[in-house]
Amino acid sequence: MTLVSGWGRFPVVDSDVLRPRSFAAVGEAISAGTVARGNGRAYGDAAIGAARTVAMTGFDRVRWFDPATGRIRLEAGVLLSDLIETFGPRGFLPFVVPGTRFVSIGGAIAADVHGKNHHCEGGFGRYVESILLRTGQGEVIEASREQNSDAFFATIGGMGLTGIILEATMRLRPAKTGWIRERVISASDLDAAMRALDASDSATYSVAWIDCVARGKDLGRALIYLGEHAGKDELAAGAAAFPIGKDPGLRVPVDLPSMTLNRISIRAFNELYYRMGARRTGGSQVVSLYPYFFPLDSLKDWNRIYGKRGFLQHQCVIPEQGARAVLGDILERVARRGDASFLAVLKKLGQGDGILSFPLPGYTLALDFPLRGDILNFLDEIDRLVVAAGGRLYLAKDARQSRATFAAGYPALQRFNAIRKSLDPAGTIRSKLSQRLFDEV
């Protein structure tokens, strides 16, 4: 057995880790309590098998690519970073990227990851045409919107619980450059931030950074980052059409003492960040896709900032109706605590595509908290507000929500479970997350 954890480094649990070299070996590796793992960027326990974890990053081949249409067939272990670096210079980018480029295709499908364009372009799954799936029952099936469609829509956002994704066919976005024309708007409070996001519905990319320690009249003050793909004529003279994604130069060398993140340091950072951002408002600037989409990737092993005990991310989505009051309440409580991270993110989401996909039309708020003190109780308190508002939590980031919170947030759960059962009557595919939230006790 090996000790395994997700990106948040909580929980740390035992699971047998296998690294098969062929699809036949993947099939042989599946036994009771198995789930697939991509690059380990899920925060909690989603990619840890109840008993056995099958590592998929070795499957990193491109099967075929059609340069005329941008359609591509890939093995599930290909990383988004690889896809961007290889096909960007050939004029194609993924339609949807999350906040890190170090996720695998299989993981991106299983979590139906969303990006800064979900409000207008949907999630990762929308651009997946078909999936080669190894089910718990031992079959290898091709699933698409037309063929095995129940399995298809259960696999998108299904957290790996329908089986092991082996390959996928997807569409890439034609892109003339790897640069983004960015516009920054500053918002002095939550109302202004939400208004600015509402007014930016037509922007391809939009996201707000929220100062989650600001209180009183500053509560919810934010910087809103809007983005559009830049054309070649917008680039500085001599700039390459596709910037190089450098390996993270900076890295966090050791686990920082958990005192590093405290009220004072976060407050100081946020004040500085807000002021620097506010200075960039007004015009627009053309920035590389890397800092625009993946600001944290430039700091390798940034999860170590939170110390050895790890951290929790709390990402909820609140339906549009009544979102203002609930978000205000959550932010007020978070600001009062003062120990949430300096990276609180607010953005608008549209309708999700998979049966269990996280997005629903509304606002999503993501907060990081170091794991200490009474944080688990505090997050339970926040969950009650989320549930009362008809919201839900993002499974790819969750490590601690209760079954009741989960069931309340995902009304399609029964339908998902029925499909899961038909693909895997013996209940072979199980993760620590599914044991915690889904499986019959």
């Binding site: 081949r61 491109v62 099967r63 690519f65 340069p67 591509i72 290889t86 096909f87 050939r90």
Partner: protein, 246 residues
């Protein structure tokens, strides 16, 4: 006929072989992949074609079948600009201590076969007046250790062969690179306890091989730390060394 440069990777289905092929393909080389089982190489060939829009050829090559070497080289459609040998076999030291067949296979896979085939390419390259030869050897060849001296001695022989070949071939316009990767996370080392700060992933080795070819480096320790580690290990007096547990 393309004007692109070409590389032939012997041991193309290994993790380092795949990584090297990708590194060269990305840099615009056409690629030949050679291995015992051509069918195993097909998915990697498809991957390289899809990613980089280059020509990829597949060839059957068995490093133990030295009798086939001349026809293998003669049967290639064209002589490549660069040939890289990644072929090797770690084997099991304990088994090799009493099992002569196993020891023989380790020695032949790491020394005899790679040396003979690269020697053959060297002759062809010298005849043409240019070319680059890359041998992936090992830090294990720098000094024999109790825990893997059968493998290490074969790698030592291979390193010495490459060193001599370099001295001779350089006068004829042919460059020889010796690569000593240190610990690499591959299927060969799966399940072994590797020292994390001294361990690299296969793509790092692939990039280092390309870099060494382009910059005409002679001997590459993929992680610079290994050069220091091996310098220390090489300079320990034998009386001390034999008492150490490696």
């Amino acid at each position: 006929m393309t004007s692109r440069k070409s590389v032939l990777v012997l041991g193309g289905s290994s993790d380092i072989g795949r990584a090297a092929a990708r590194a060269f393909a990305k840099a615009g080389y056409d690629v030949g992949l050679a291995g015992r089982d051509v069918a195993v190489l097909e998915p990697d060939a498809a991957d390289l074609r899809a990613r980089y829009n280059i020509e990829v050829g597949l060839y059957r090559f068995d490093v133990l079948d030295t009798a086939s070497f001349e026809s293998f080289v003669g049967g290639l459609p064209a002589l490549p600009d660069v040939v890289v040998s990644i072929v090797g076999l770690l084997g099991v030291q304990e088994k090799a201590e009493s099992d002569l067949a196993h020891a023989t296979m380790i020695m032949r896979s790491n020394y005899e076969g790679p040396s003979l085939i690269l020697g053959l390419f060297a002759e062809k390259f010298l005849g043409r007046g240019n070319g680059t030869i890359v041998g992936v050897s090992s830090v294990a060849g720098d000094r024999g250790r109790a825990s893997n001296y059968v493998y290490g001695s074969a790698k030592a022989g291979f390193s010495a062969f490459l060193s001599g070949l370099r001295a001779r071939a350089s006068r004829g316009g042919v460059h020889v690179v010796t690569v000593k990767p240190g610990f690499v996370r591959t299927k060969m080392t799966e399940g072994m306890k590797l020292i994390a700060p001294l361990t690299v992933e296969a793509p790092v080795v692939g990039d280092a091989i390309l870099q060494a070819v382009e910059s005409k480096t002679d001997v590459v320790y993929v992680s610079g730390k290994w050069r220091l580690v091996m310098l220390i290990i090489k300079t320990l007096p034998e009386a001390v060394f034999k008492k150490l547990k490696f």
